[in-house]
């Protein structure tokens, strides 16, 4: 019993720490990338929430999917996601990540992001305003604190399902087979 309590306390502390330093992988995947500079810079200043850009996947905690993903990008995004270290979170940004958005009949974009990657928070809008982006991060922080942001665990558990979906649209899967 005592051990569990100790682990629990450790979790709370580490989640508190994680929540306050969300490093975002700077990958402008879709057109939503245009609202990221305003969010990060002086007017909206997301850094006061501990949100900061990070160039490499290895050091990043959050993968921000800024809008639609073309099949070609999806491949790279999966690769970036696999390189990130757990715990890692995915934010789906804009209506095109939810149900196709305005690219619903495009032959080259995926429609439901959560079929391919475990999304922790969806932000609605086309474009979402910087306030909405920050709101999404705040939501993610809450989820982390309450231990509900466990998309990465979901991904590990249902890897076969995710992988099958991914392989369905990516025809030439010439990536290393990341093995959880």
């Amino acid at each position: 019993m005592k051990e569990d309590w100790g682990r629990e306390a450790g979790n709370i502390i580490s989640n508190w720490a994680r929540k306050h330093s969300l490093w975002v992988l700077a990958y402008g995947t879709g057109c939503g990338a245009i609202e990221i500079p305003p969010t990060m810079t002086s007017r909206y200043d997301a850094e006061r929430f501990g949100i900061s850009g990070m160039a490499t996947p290895r050091q990043a905690d959050v993968l921000l999917i800024t809008g639609y993903l073309s099949v070609k990008t999806l491949k790279r995004v999966i690769r970036s996601y696999e390189q990130m270290q757990a715990p890692k979170y995915v934010i789906g940004f804009g209506s095109c990540t939810i149900n196709g958005g305005m690219y619903w009949d495009s032959y080259n974009t995926v429609k439901r992001l959560d079929d391919y990657l475990p999304v922790d928070v969806f932000i609605n809008g086309c474009m979402p305003r910087p306030e909405a982006v920050i709101d999404g991060f705040v939501k993610l922080q809450e989820l982390i604190a309450s231990k509900k942001a466990n998309g990465w665990i979901r991904y590990q558990e249902n890897l076969d399902w995710y992988r099958a979906n991914q392989k369905k649209v990516i025809k030439n899967w010439n990536m290393p087979d990341y093995n959880w």
């Binding site: 619903w104 969806f122 609605n124 086309c126 305003r129 306030e131 909405a132």
Partner: protein, 593 residues
Amino acid sequence: MKNIKGVFLPFSALKFLGKKPHTVRYPLEKKKTAERYRGFHYNDIEECIGCGTCATICQNEAIDMIKIDGIEPKKGDSGLRPRVDNGRCCWCGLCVEMCPTGSLSLTDQYLQTTPDPESFLLIPGVDHPEYGEHKSFVKDDEIRLLDLQRVPMRELDGAERVKSFAEVVLGYMQEEARREASRCVDCAICVTACPDHMHIPEYIAAIADADDELALKYIYDNNPLPELCGKVCTRQCETVCAISHLGDPIAIRWLKRYATEQFPDPAVILNPKIAEPNGKKVGIVGGGPAGLSAGFYLALRGFDVTVYEALPKAGGMTFAGIPKYRFPEDSLDKQISYMEKIGVKIKTNTRIGKDISFEELEKRHDALFLGVGFHVPYRLGIIGEDLKNSIQAVDFLREINLGNKVDVGDKVVVIGGGNVAIDAARVARRLGAEVTILYRRRVEDMPADWEEIEGAEHEGVKIVPQGIPLEIIGKDGKVAAIKYGMAEMVPDPKGGRPRPKLIEGDEHTMEVTSVIGAIGQEADYSFLPERIKEKLEIERGRIKVNEYKQTTIDYIFAGGDTVNRTMDAISAIADGVKAVEGIERFLLGDKNK
């Protein structure tokens, strides 16, 4: 040297460290969005009519029309309401610009962040009714995508009109019709109001698409008298038209008229397939719209149909009661000759009970359809009604339409406010008389079409509202003057529309040469034998029928004014069409069973 300066210049930025930041304080303080911000949707559920135009224009197919508890479909309302998939929407606001009622708007709400991807369906107005307080992007009064103005109809000038019985409305030219038809948003709300449920959006779309033949096919699918409807219909469709909520309704009637006028002989275009004769015979009493429609579709389905008409020409009230400047005789001839081509036998000048007995009819036919209409006028019930030149509007119009001369003198008063009254007044005006209409209620209470009232006024007909006739004063056995009292409107204690009440002492006398009564008609069932009359359920002059227009006697069907209260041609046609189904079921059995 320049470079040295360039090394130190950036440090001047340090002075901004002391300045107040312009950071938006969040989450403590949310930046106020602009007045026109396009955020989530809000829909005024009460104002929305479920036309689905928003769903049609949405390029993301983000809007679904769905059934919502508590909202029932009714006339002018499909009963559906939009639901927005926020996982599709791009908040372009085209739906708001296109909304014909102006019920849809965008709000200044934009925050929705959730881990649940299934929660992005929003029924505007039902979910988050508080958004109603946050309306932001609304329809502009000036800038619209929908054309709210009707293409004007060319008409004869008032002074020109009174000289002859030439048709007043001239009809759309091809280009005008295309323009008018292309205003339509194809929502089909009009179908809910049409008694006959014509395929209105389809034929309007065909006209807009420059395919008049297709339009005609759609029109004749369930209306064999479209030229009549194109000219004199009461057009309930236009009263509920989606566009009418903010602008002029689509001129559905004129477009139908346009389509039918394009083809001198509909048979050539439609080339209908007539079913093999099935040996069943149907007799139709009364050649009005109800009888003719029933006859038309029965003949198409292989029945042997005979129409018995008392007057020298078929058409019923549309022939005898509608003046020629509204519905010219050759239009009627065209429709009737098409019917005869299909195989409908029309026996004119045949009055049941006089030229042929009812028993004979029963013997000749397997089923009968009664569409005798209301031709007996109500009496005014005042002194002097039996004087010479005190006549009834239906008789007056019939005589004129039959080509007989009626001398009304030069000063006529018409009593009543319905379409018949206006018709009588305008006909009398064409005979050269000065005409006054005397009506007990206000002008806005008149049951006549506003267009007709306007037309009459345009032609110089004077309307005296709130005037109640008291006595017709005669001289030498002829009408000489009419005494009438003015009335005030008092609220009805039972909650009905306000009633006129005579003002004591406010009486006037007007010198007139003729008085035309037009306060309504009733049916004449004297041709029916007593045994039939006993079995039929007749309630306040109307025969009771079931859904398929079948009376309590199974082989007798009825339709038109004889059974329904709306007293217009399109309801009569609808009855006729419906009765065809009933007769087919009765004689051939229910195929669907």
